[in-house]
């Protein structure tokens, strides 16, 4: 597949996933009615589609895009195919912030602020500790991140253990990833677009970096500044995504691999494609999550895994390109 065909296909997929997110749910909106609403017609469905479903669909798309992009960047940065956006403990830090504020009953901006603060704290902690007295290697960064993440895990278990039962359901949903509170996607879209715009000029250097640090250096890449930029970018994308929707698993790990199996590992195509596919996958998953047991809703993280696992296994079985 040529890059152009791939990206046009993924753009179409993104459009379809967003439209179906607007049409489907506890009440199905016929596409003629949907078209009328999008034309600006006042009517029965306007409130449902524009006020309720549109912000949520946009939030889902932005979150999925950020996670997939962060995952692709982390995999190259750590040169480890098993890396995902959460591997360096950013989601753990955010979860500790979020759950603590739930425990003391804070909400709104305090909740968002403490989740984002936790993510930033974790990012700084890992960076400072991994650096030590010398420069950091991929292995050292990975190990530091994994250990910090384990530390956060213990704190999360502690908070869950001392929380009253009434809070537990909300906390567990947040931990599994949940878009029902994500009503304000504007910030997420800004971060996603900025992240994508800053990454794309680095993509050709990331191609060299994925072949090893020495090799990249010999090919003309200034490795240290590149790694720092990628670390900060991937961490911020993850922090915003987690603050918006909790730790939605799987998207950041599987989307870059799905794309590698189909279009190869050229970061110049892979990074934009990851944004589009990650966004589409999460939008579809969220639509399914609020449709199949309507009016009940499932945590979207459950659906991403249920959709992603069989597709990934199929592609892996089919073998390489």
């Amino acid at each position: 597949m040529t890059p152009r065909v791939t990206l046009i296909g993924l753009l179409l997929l993104s459009g379809i996933s967003l439209l179906s997110a607007l049409a489907l749910g506890s009440i199905t909106v016929h596409w003629r009615d949907l078209w009328a609403v999008l034309q600006g017609e006042q009517g029965l469905y306007r409130n449902l589609v524009v006020d309720l479903r549109l912000p949520r669909a946009m939030a889902a798309f932005a979150t999925g895009g950020m996670l997939a992009l962060a995952g692709a960047l982390m995999q190259v940065l750590l040169r480890n195919p098993l890396a995902d956006p959460y591997i360096l403990g950013i989601s753990g830090g955010a979860a500790v912030g979020a759950l603590s504020s739930m425990l003391i009953g804070a909400s709104g901006v305090w909740f968002t602020g403490s989740a984002f603060g936790g993510a930033l704290l974790s990012m700084l902690l890992v960076f400072t500790l991994a650096r030590g007295r010398g420069s950091w290697t991929s292995t050292r960064l990975l190990l530091t991140g994994v250990v910090i993440a384990a530390g956060w895990g213990a704190v999360i278990s502690f908070i869950l253990a001392i929380s009253p039962d009434t809070h537990l359901r909300g906390m567990l949903f947040w931990l599994m990833g949940d878009l029902s509170h994500a009503q304000n996607p504007g910030t997420a879209w800004m971060v996603l677009l900025m992240g994508a715009i800053l990454c794309l000029p680095l993509a050709h250097q990331l191609n060299a970096l994925s072949r090893g640090e020495l090799q990249a250096s010999a090919l003309g890449v200034a490795v240290k500044p590149l790694r720092l930029q990628v670390y900060v970018l991937a961490s911020l994308l993850t922090a915003v995504a987690v603050t918006l929707a909790g730790s939605i698993g799987f998207v950041g790990l599987i989307v870059p691999h799905l794309l590698r199996l189909v279009i190869g590992n050229d970061q110049r195509i892979l990074l934009p494609a990851a944004v589009l596919l990650g966004g589409s996958l999460l939008t579809v998953a969220d639509t399914v999550a609020r449709t199949i047991v309507a009016p009940q809703q499932l945590p979207v993280g459950v659906i991403t895994a249920l959709l992603g696992v069989p597709v990934f296994l199929y592609l892996l079985q089919r073998g390489h390109r």
């Binding site: 995999q75 050709h204 090893g212 020495l214 090919l219 003309g220 890449v221 190869g264 590992n265």
Partner: protein
């Protein structure tokens, strides 16, 4: 007289508490093929990486065409100096074609992708290394020798002025050892480029290199023309092993006892 391409002044390099060279002055000119010999752990790879600007020396300065290496951008250096590493690791799957095209990286910018000319150079390099039939194969399915030829093809695609090679004949069969050596040495002499390669085969150095560097140990380095340097005494001193010298077809051939 050919112009100086790479020059090291008062170079001191140490690794893991061991001195590789001390206050060393060294010059590579265009058209020269240098061999580097030394026992295991003498610091050959470390010295090669230092000359490529991949690690900083303890003291001294390296000049690339009279410019201190430390003041040049990595991109500029990569357009002039190409390195063949002893090991390559690829955690992500990649095809032979993609791998050889990575050699064009120093010439790309954020918004300029490989063009037809870059692809032609990559195809030519694959043809020279007898890898054309494997262009769409996954690298992980190649044998060790094929991967080595692929790495050399990527280096030819990079088209540097100075080749720094760490054991280029590793994993290669007899035919491909000679193919690679003939091709590189002819390329260097014909295009007036320069080459420095770490080898373990003394006879290969005798046959293909006009100059040689011997890493004796403890920061002592002998260097000069191959004829002067490659003697039985020097080699026995270098490897601490008895060596016999045979004259055949007008060449010295060394055999370890």
């Amino acid at each position: 007289m050919m112009p100086v391409f790479l020059e090291a002044k008062n170079l001191t390099v140490a690794v893991a508490g061991k001195t590789v060279c001390r206050d060393w002055n060294f010059v590579i000119k265009r058209g020269e093929c240098w061999g580097m010999l030394g026992p295991n752990g003498a610091g050959k790879t470390t010295l090669l990486h230092t000359l490529a600007g991949l690690r900083a020396p303890q003291a001294g300065t390296i000049y690339l065409e009279d410019q201190p290496l430390s003041t040049l951008s990595r991109r500029h250096i990569a357009q002039c100096v190409g390195v063949l590493f002893q090991h390559s690791q690829d955690p992500f799957p990649s095809t032979v074609q993609e791998t050889v095209l990575i050699g064009r990286h120093p010439y790309l910018t954020a918004w300029r992708w490989e063009g037809e000319e870059d692809r032609r150079q990559a195809r030519d390099a694959l043809a020279q290394m007898e890898l054309v039939d494997m262009a769409i194969r996954q690298v992980e399915t190649l044998s060790g020798g094929e991967r080595q030829r692929l790495a050399i093809a990527a280096l030819l695609t990079q088209n540097p002025q100075l080749f720094l090679l760490d054991e280029p004949t590793n994993h290669l069969d007899l035919h491909h050892q000679i193919l690679v050596m003939n091709l590189l040495v002819q390329h260097i002499r014909h295009a007036r480029k320069a080459l420095l390669m770490v080898l373990h085969d003394v006879n290969m150095v005798m046959r293909y290199c006009d100059h040689v560097v011997l890493l004796v140990g403890d920061g002592n380095i002998l260097y000069g023309t191959t004829d002067e340097m490659l003697t039985r005494e020097n080699l026995e001193n270098l490897y601490k092993h008895p060596v016999h010298c045979i004259e055949a077809q007008g060449r010295r051939i060394f055999v370890a006892e």
